[in-house]
Amino acid sequence: MNDSIQFLISGLTIGSIYAIVALGFVTIYSVTKVINLAQGEFVMLGGMTMFSLIKLGIPYFIAFLLTVVIVMAIGWLVEWAVIRKAKGADPLSLIILTIGTAIFIRGIAGMVWGKNSVKVEPFTNDVPINILGASITPQSVWVMVFMLLVVLVLYFLIEKTMLGKAFRACSVNPTAARLMAISPKKMSSLSFALSAGLGAIAGLVIAPIMFPSYDMGIMLGIKGFSASILGGLGSAPGAVIGGLLLGVIESLGAGYISSGIKDAISFGVVLMILLIRPFGLLGEKNVGKGGL
C-alpha cells in the first residue's frame, strides 16, 4: 500500500514536469498551429542556464528570474529566425523544421556546456517529508506547486487578460484577428516566448532533481509532446491530464510491471489511446493540421 502511494507520488512529480512541458506545446500550438519539437530544448536551456548563472555567483533568486528571461528571449528568437520564415508550411515540414531546430540547439549546447551532467541546488532544503509512509522531497512539492502555479497563471492570462483574448482570437480565426488590429505574427512571437518561459520553468524546477545535461531535452520534449497529444492537441486541461497520466502510468508501470519496459508501456498506452480516440482525450476533431 505504501508502495503504491510512493509510486503515485513519483508519478505525479514527474507527471507535473511533463504537464508543464506539454503546456508549452499547447501554448504555441493553440496560437500558431505549430508543434514545436524543440520545446524540450527550452527545458534543457532552463536547467543549464541556471547552472551557469549560479556558477557565476549570481544569487539564486535573481538567477532564477534571469534564466526565465534569457530562455524567453531565445524562444522569441527561434520564432523570429526560424518558424516565421517557414510560414504556411504543412505539419510534416514543421515537424522537420522544429526537429532541426532542436538538434541545432542541442548541438550548440553540447559545445557550450560540454557533455557532463551538472548539479543545481534545490530551492529549499532537501529533507524529505513523510506522507502516509511515502516520502516526498520538498523539491517534488515545488514541482507540483509550480505546475499548479503555471496552470493558474496561464488560466488567468488566457481567460482574463486582453492578451489572452488576443491569443485565443488568433487561434480561432487569424484573419478576423488581424481585422481587430491583432497581429498573428506578434502573437506567434509572444507564444513562443511564453512557452520558452514555461520550458525554462520546467527546467528550473527539475534541475535539482535530475542533474541537467545538454541532452536532457530529447526525452522531456518527447514526453511533453506525448502528453499534449494524449490530452488532445490545443487543450490546456488535456495537457495537464495527459502529463500527469503519462507520469503515473510510467511510475505504476515501472512499479508493478517492469522498470525496464516502462517506456514501452507508457508509449504503448499512448498508441492505444490514439487507436481509440484519434484526437486525444480532450482533443477536438478538427485539429491536427498545421500552418501558421
Partner: protein
Amino acid sequence: MTSSILEIKNVSFSYGPIKALDHISFEVKKGEIVALLGANGAGKTTMLNNISGLLKPASGQIYFKNEEITKLEAEKIVEKRLILVPEHRQVFSTLSVIDNLYLGAFHHFKKTGKKEVDQDIEKIFDLFPILKERKEQLGGTLSGGQQQMLAIARAIMAKPELLLLDEPSLGLAPLIVKEVLEYVKKLRDDFGVTVLLIEQNVSASLKIADRGYVMSHGSIIKQGSSINLLDDPEIKEAFLGHTVS
C-alpha cells in the same frame, strides 16, 4: 465640400492565374453609405480585402483620409479606423460575446482604458439588446443574424470612421436582412460612420445607400445614385444573365 474619405485608384489584383480586379477606381465620401453591387464572383469581396490590407493590390493605390494605405498591413489599417466586417461574419466562435466585443477594442484598449471600453460596450448593448442577453454565450452558438450583429458591434467597438461591410445579408432571412441594414443606416445617422457595403441584395441595399457601383468580372460597369440604379434595367441583366427573348 465633402471630401472623399476613401479613394481607389486603378487597383488590380489576381489570384494566381485568375484576374479578380481589373483597374478599379472609385471613391467614398465622408458620411456616405455606398453600395458595391455585383453577382457572385464579380470581385467585390476581393476589393474589400484589398482595401482592408488582407490582400495587397498588384498595382494601383488606395488612399484613406488622403493618406496612402496601399502597402500597410491589415493590423495597421485598423488602427487608422478603417474597419472591415468580413464575409461570413467571422466572429470568434469559441469566445463569448463580450470577449468578442472586447477584442473589437483591442487596438485602443490601453489608450482608452477598461472603464471607457466598458461604457462603449453598454452603448452597444443599447443598440443591440439581444447581444446583452447573450453576452456570456459563445459567439459560435449565436444565430446567423445575431452573429452578423455581433460582427458589426465588434467593428463599432474599434471606433471606425469608415466601415466596410461584406455581404451583411448573406444567408439571412429577408426580415433579418432588413433589420441588419436598418442598423447600418443607424450607424451612419447616429454615429457618423461612413459605410462601404457590398451586397448582392440589390434593392435592400440600395434602399439605404446613397450611391452605388456595380461590378462585373473585376470591373466597375455602372455607377450612380441609388434611385437611378434601382431603375436601371441593365442591373437585372447583370444579375440574371442575358434575357432570353
